[in-house]
């Protein structure tokens, strides 16, 4: 019997249903776990995602043929039965469950275990084989509880307000920025957003996700317009003329990579906040155990090391080479 999922140059493929999951080259039918650019690529014949993920994908990919499937609902495609389950990575993100003749495989996509108050919380899905990301698959990556990190950001912002500085916080414009908005004490002062962040905010607000009010930064925004503001911007905007328009400022960055002193120093930020939308070491291990899977395939991250670890834990583990952003796009995906 053919395996439920196989690994092809286009991406993860289901022969029984003739569809791909998060493919990186154009295919006829693509099931998409979430809207980040390395998972939802342009050029596929048709797309299938959760109803919560679809608006952002339309916003980012333009005129695509997209069908939706609610969390937990099943759909028969050829000889395969497909369903989507919350991955906790960002609003609308999913794990993909595929069942063929009683054998169940699950593709995790990107995921985190800790509920963040905005994304639909991660749900373990029992399966025979689990294809897991392992971006942070080393024991040096352990996150503190979200509440603690948000309190540290609030304190930094308050300190900057008291010193007459603006706080510029770098965060990925889809997911991390909204998680921060929802998690910080947004009433403490004006919250400004970069256009890329605000565009995503608008899409999510229209879907009914509760996000506090924000002010979009425009070319007319001048230093001193919003004293003591917190500015949310994509990492690439930090250190550019765009970020210098606010006058005296302290720059921070929220990412799992901020766990490493070397990366913090290289980024040259005033503050690094360790906050990731990926599972940490304990999260990965917990999630994998919870699936009950005997076979585990690991993708993007420290795959060789993590596979060896899983094998030492008695699991049958393999590596899937993928073209998802990993080590090389450090800071942009995490």
């Amino acid at each position: 019997m053919a395996p439920v999922l196989s690994f092809t140059p286009e991406g993860i493929y289901c022969p029984a249903g003739d569809f791909h999951i998060d493919p990186w080259r154009p295919v006829a039918r693509a099931v998409i776990t979430h809207g980040h650019a390395d998972h939802a690529r342009p050029g596929h014949g048709s797309y299938l995602a959760t109803p919560q993920a679809a608006p952002v994908m339309r916003h980012r990919l333009g005129d695509i043929r997209i069908d939706t499937l609610a969390y937990g609902a099943t759909r028969r495609i050829g000889a395969a039965t497909l369903s989507l389950h919350p991955a906790g990575h960002l609003p609308g993100s999913a794990q993909v469950r595929v069942e063929v003749a009683g054998e169940v495989w699950v593709v995790s996509g990107d995921y985190k275990i800790e509920p963040d108050g905005l994304a639909e919380p991660f749900e373990p899905v029992p399966c025979h084989a689990f294809i897991s990301e392992c971006t942070f698959g080393l024991p040096v990556f352990r996150w503190r509880p979200q509440a603690e990190v948000m309190a540290a950001i609030d304190a930094w912002w308050a300190e900057n307000r008291a010193a007459g500085r603006v706080s510029i916080l770098g965060a990925y414009s889809l997911g991390k920025a909204q998680r921060l908005l929802a998690g910080i004490d947004a009433g403490a002062g004006p919250v400004l957003t970069h256009g890329a962040v605000e565009a995503t905010n608008e899409v999510l607000r229209a879907q009914g996700y509760a996000l506090p009010g924000t002010i979009r930064v425009t070319p007319e925004t001048k230093p001193g317009d919003h004293p003591g503001a917190l500015v949310l911007a994509p990492p690439a905007a930090l250190g550019t003329p765009w970020a210098r328009r606010f006058g005296p400022a302290s720059a921070g960055f929220a990412s799992g990579w901020m766990q490493l002193r070397g990366v913090r120093r290289r980024r040259g930020m005033d503050r690094g906040f360790v906050l990731s939308d990926h599972a940490d070491w304990d999260g990965l291990n917990t999630a994998i155990r919870a699936t009950g899977a005997e076979r585990v395939f690991v993708t993007h991250g420290y795959t060789a090391v993590f596979r060896r670890w899983l094998e030492s834990q008695g699991l049958d583990a393999g590596i899937v080479a993928t073209e998802f952003g990993g080590e090389e796009t450090e800071g942009e995906v995490a």
Partner: protein, 532 residues
């Protein structure tokens, strides 16, 4: 410790000088006096020697964290710092304690003489009571690896802010052979008595490299020029009947140079000389190559044979103290006159002479002499304004180093390894090769010279073009050519190429050259014949 760990964190993560000074000044105002003194000691490189080897620490941490050793070893290159790796893998603390920095330093001193079995129990116990961010600093203190990017000048500035005492005065007080065990905050920092440490050197006056044309410096007659010797910059201090030799790194190196001990008899009391220690070729009456001096450095005692083959000599640049009086505010011209007079009285066999001054009427004449520096085993020239006082530290304007252009060779990138610290997830440590017929022979390692963007680009390339792995080292496709600049070249039986370079670094990424166009071993050997 919490407070000191926070200071470390601030100093470590900011590149802004003012922020560093402010953080330091705050610590030096608010922390308990014993802690302040320890902080100054640690920040000025006076860290205690290693108490526990980092490999032991790694083993214990793996055990405590319940992780296999190989997994910790695999994590280390990603983090780029073993003390940090250990701090990150340890389970959360069982107790919340906060002992002062001075208490921990006493704890360390008490631990040192105990057997290793006791070390393990004590360290595990300490980890259990310590917050994660404190463990990093603690681990670095245990393994003798504590370092942080603040200069001596910056510490003095902060201390000056905290105490209201002028910085040059403090710089002098902080020099020399003290530890928090031998002095106190009051005695070292606040005390006015200059005589309380006879061995204390003056802060060295340092020069910036000359980047503009020498002619921009004005009239040649306003300047003194001398060889920039390639030896050990040092101060010879003769006070209270004793001789003290200090290196610029503030190490007391008197015992390493028994051949300079007679200076105690030759120099009058209350004399301080700034100069260069060189290994001397008696027959040719000129310095030997730096490599010969280097063979003496690693040794506690110097064997007779080496004393005979590479005797040390001090070439004096400057006179800083005479008859117990600080001469540093005097113009260089006057100090030099006094130096020459003092040294003229010495017998010929004294291992001390004035470093000769160049004779020149124009900058072009001086430039021509500079071009011959390598044949004198000098790195270039020093230019010093005749009216200059002896500044504390590096100051722009009065002193310049006018070094030779480096030697250069085009080499092929052969092996790459990830860097440490802020360069941890990047490939920055490279091995380069030249052609020997159809073979590539590795001849040098280089770590610096590229921009961050270039390092990021080559890192992405290395990941995709790895041919083989040897532990952390990756062999890559021989494709990229880099221009390697270096200061000197010598024969070395320890290297496969038979050659060792001094200060090799990447001067340029030669994207215009294919690997086949890189230099050959024959070309490298020709440089050795010329300059070795």
């Amino acid at each position: 410790m919490r407070r000191f760990a926070r200071l470390f964190d601030t100093l470590d993560r900011t590149t802004r000088t003012n922020a560093k000074v402010a953080a330091l000044a705050e610590y030096l105002t608010g922390a308990p006096e014993e802690d302040r003194l320890w902080a100054i000691a640690l920040l000025s490189g006076r860290r205690p020697r290693r108490v526990v080897a980092s490999a032991r620490l790694r083993d214990w941490a793996a055990e405590r964290a319940g992780l296999p050793l190989w997994l910790v070893e695999e994590s280390y290159p990603v983090v780029g710092d073993l003390a940090e790796t250990i701090a990150l893998i340890l389970p959360p603390p069982l107790r919340g304690e906060d002992r002062s920095l001075a208490e921990w330093m006493d704890w360390l001193a008490a631990l040192r003489p105990q057997p290793e079995a006791a070390h393990k129990a004590a360290v595990l116990e300490a980890w259990d009571g310590m917050a994660a961010q404190d463990r990093l600093v603690f681990n670095k203190l245990l393994t003798g690896g504590f370092r942080v990017g603040v200069s001596a000048g910056l510490v003095t500035r902060a201390l000056s802010q905290a105490t209201g005492i002028e910085a040059p005065k403090l710089a002098h007080r902080l020099m020399g052979d003290w530890t928090p065990a031998t002095t106190s905050w009051d005695r070292l920092i606040l005390s006015e008595d200059p005589a309380d440490d006879l061995s204390r050197p003056y802060p060295f006056c340092l020069a910036h490299p000359l980047e503009d044309p020498a002619a921009d410096l004005g009239a040649p007659g306003d300047w003194l020029a001398e060889w920039k010797w390639d030896g050990i910059r040092g101060q010879a201090i003769r006070r209270g009947g004793e001789l003290y030799l200090w290196s610029r790194g503030e190490d007391l190196i008197t015992p390493r140079f028994p051949d300079l001990a007679p200076l105690a008899d030759f120099l009058p009391d209350g004399t301080v000389i700034d100069g260069e220690i060189l290994a001397w070729d008696r027959a040719a009456d000129r310095p030997l190559a730096f490599a010969r001096l280097q063979t003496r450095l690693g040794r506690k005692t110097v064997p007779k044979k080496l004393l005979a083959e590479a005797p040390a000599r001090l070439l004096a640049y400057d006179l800083l103290e005479q008859e117990g009086t600080d001469l540093r505010p005097l113009p260089l011209e006057e100090r030099r006159l006094r130096l020459d007079r003092l040294l003229q009285q010495l017998p010929a066999e004294a291992p001390l002479a004035a470093s000769p001054l160049m004779e020149f009427g124009t900058w072009d004449e001086l430039g021509a002499q500079r071009a011959a520096a390598r044949s004198h085993h000098a790195e270039g020239l020093m230019l010093k304004h005749r009216a200059s006082p002896y500044h504390a530290g590096r100051r722009r304007g009065d002193w310049w180093k006018w070094k030779l252009e480096p030697l250069r060779i085009d080499a092929v990138l052969l092996y790459a390894q990830a860097g440490h610290g802020r360069r941890a997830t990047l490939f920055t440590d490279f091995t380069f090769a030249v052609w020997d017929g159809p073979e590539l022979v590795p001849f040098a390692k280089a770590y610096s010279g590229l921009t961050d963007a270039e390092f990021a680009e080559i890192t992405a390339w290395v990941r995709r073009n790895t041919r083989d792995r040897f532990g952390p080292v990756r062999q890559v496709a021989p494709q990229h050519v880099f221009e390697i600049a270096f200061e000197g070249i010598r024969e070395s039986p320890r290297h496969k190429s038979g050659i060792a370079l001094r200060f090799p670094r990447m001067a340029r990424w030669r994207r215009d050259k294919a690997a086949a166009e890189a230099s050959t071993l024959t070309e490298l050997r020709a440089l050795l014949d010329l300059y070795g």
